[in-house]
Amino acid sequence: MKKKLVVIGAGMASGRMLEHLFEANADYDVTLFNAEPRGNYNRLMLSPVLSGEKTYEQIVTHDDAWYAENGVTCRFGEKVTGIDRDRKVVIGENGEVAYDKLVIGTGSNPFIIPLPGHDLKGVIPYRDLEDTQSMMDLGAKPGSKAVVIGGGLLGLEAAAGMAARGVEVTVVHIMGHLMERQLDEAAGYLLRKSLGEKGIKVMCKANSKEILADENGHVRALLLDDGTELPCDLLVMAVGIRPNTKLGAEAGLAVGKGIHVDDQMVTSDPDILSLGECVEHNGAIFGLVAPLYDQARVLANTLMGIEDAFKNKEVSTKLKVTGCDLFSAGDFAEGEGREDIVFRDPARGVYKRLILQGNKVIGAVMYGDTADGAWFYNHIKEGTDVAEMRDTLIFGPAYQGGAAADPLSAVAALPADAEICGCNGVCKGKIVDAINGGATTLDGVRATTKASNSCGTCTGLVEQVLAVTLGEDFVMPTSQPICKCSDHTHEDVRRLIKAQELKSMPAVFQELAWKTVDGCHVCRPALNYYLLADWPLDYQDDPQSRFINERKHANIQKDGTFSVVPRMWGGMTTSDELRAIADVVDKFKIPTVHVTGGQRIDLLGVKGEDLPEVWSDLNKAGMVSGHAYSKGLRTVKTCVGKDHCRFGTQDSTGLGINLEKALWGSWTPHKVKLAVSGCPRNCAEATCKDIGVVCVDSGYEIGIAGAAGMDVKETEAFHKAASEEEVLEYVQAVMQLYRENAKYLDRIYKWVNKVGLDWVKEQVADEANRKALVERFLISQSVYQKDPWAEHVEKEQARYTPMANLMMEAAE
């Protein structure tokens, strides 16, 4: 007599398992339950159905005829309510079925975040044909909007499918980059860029707060915790799945994250087996199809008494979105003894990274060109020794011994209308035309186009355009790259960040062909500055790319303690401020108090963990950070001016305070120190500052580019202003010009020496240009002019305290 096999769930895993059984003519009478009113279809293909590339009929794997042919009793659309293990029966809504062997393939449930409003109409997961249909229906309505929560595989496929049907889609993702489980940051950046080109808006690091309803109880918008409202007609939650273990658990089987199975796919009951997304094997649960097919084979063999064992293997992932070519396989985290081989081709938007351990490839992430994915995946699975082909491995099977990466590709990738020379408004196309017209040297290009003829910071780029256009006929002069991570100079990087509108660190790494995964201590602080200076509203300051002093808003000392300098506007203070400082010194036993050259009081020897409390006390007395640690505005030193001094000509103290109030908090390529003297006797030493003002009877003489450090240099006359307002305008304009153009760690005098004082004067003298500079400075100040001490006291206390204290444990 045939044995009775009952299968709960007609999914991809159980479907494949039945195929194995029938192919081997196994001796079983099969009853198949499915809660959905249909048989097995290829769930992976729902995305092509959604995007209109396939129809439902094309993705059905087992039709009615197949079930009939193999004698399967189908109980579709009927839920199983329980399993009675003592009597060995499955209890369905329409009656019981006895079994000799039972297979549980109940799959998984989509995880729904319990946000307020998650149960509104129009809030759906992306799991089955019904969900797919809802999304397809939305595409039929013109002007409809959708929000997808979740930037993983499924969420992005849902987003791309709806976008292909004309829906305006926004993806909201809580992590820093898309598909963080399959992709590294660099590939995530490229993916985001491709999706953007398809009109899909992506918001990363976005926290959902609430789903808002209209008057009919239907979803109206998603509210984020920063107050942003994203209007939508449909909200798709694709944040993950959870094994559906309900039946197994109720039947008393061993259940953890999923239903526990051994290597033979047998549960804690020897007559009950399980497979698919509902199981847990050696602590792992499953969401991709490849291991499920392995489980199907093993389970079928177990049922037929053939020895077999399931082993969880590396899996590879591909995203089924047309035009987004990505591939990821194996383990791509960095680790001990692991090495990366990175290849970037910005011109084609290609990124490839192989992760090697010893002489074996253990992981691969690819974007833009995934043709060799299968070849690498094979090496990962086989554990091939790649020592012999290591040098050319990244180029794939066809290119053993292929060409090296091209450092010029970033420039080659620029469109003809990309601006190369900002001073004279010269685009790449014009330079190429000039070169083709016979200007084959830098001087020739300068003479015909004026490119690189003014401030000169684009010289490197013009040379690269020459090299790209002329090929081997042009010999590149050697210039100093930013660091070992890149072939570009600081100046090139700055101009390319502007020309290509690069607004994030991964964008710079990819488009400018960085050779490391996340830069180094030399390039990261520079890039962080360039990005925040050029894109104040778009770029998010990255504390981890800042030197410790700017990260902790205090100066580290040789013994690891810190110094604290409160701001004293224009060098003025009061008895209350002095009293508060004295109290802080006593309370925290600060060993050293010093009066600085910038007219401030420096408290030295403060312990790192005391910083927030010290700041909090100083904040309470009305004092803020003096930024004595920053590449930014430091101090404005003043003399007492005409209020007290018998020689004073103007209110130098008042002007100094006003300048400091306007400029404080701004980040600059290097530190900036100012002074205002009330008369030419110059008690505030204004003539050796980065920017100095000397008051005279007839107005204000502004000098710039002084120095009194490693180099000593007198300021150069910059502008004679008639009023305080004019001083403020000119000083803010020159600050912004410096912020936008100088190389990181060049003081103003070094920068002026490179670009020429005349050029700086011309830029600021032009009224429209000056006003625009001031406007951009004010935009930046609207973001960055804030007291970091107050902010850290409020939100970042944890950074300053030890994470754990094991003194007690260790002493025991």
Partner: protein, 111 residues
């Protein structure tokens, strides 16, 4: 024998950052890299005693904030022309929690 102590959650350390754990024989710097690996090193540069926990983390390396010595966190060895080594401790991450080996911390104190 390894005796794991639960120190903190992984998310308590920012990516490309570090936090300090105080022990009887000095501070241990616990680093988290961009790819979520965790390393524990003596928080003391062999050069001039700089606190490595305050350095810039890049790849699996950290740069000392005082004089820019760079250390490979896998081995604790100084990179490039600099010669020196900083002590490393075994650390692991499991289910989002960071663990250090207590026996190692003790042995170090006995030595």
């Amino acid at each position: 024998m390894t005796q794991w102590i639960d120190i903190a959650a992984l998310v308590d350390i920012p990516r490309q950052g570090a936090r300090v754990v105080k022990t009887a024989q000095g501070c241990v710097a616990v680093f988290r890299t961009l790819d979520d690996h965790v390393f524990a090193l003596e928080d003391r540069c062999p050069h001039k005693g700089g606190p490595l926990s305050e350095g810039i983390v890049h790849g699996h390396k950290v740069t000392c904030p005082l004089h820019n010595w760079v250390f490979d966190m896998n081995t604790g060895e100084a990179q490039g022309a600099d010669n020196g080594q900083v002590g490393t401790f075994t650390a692991k991450v499991e289910a989002g929690r960071i663990y250090l080996d207590a026996t190692q911390l003790m042995a170090r104190s006995a030595a």
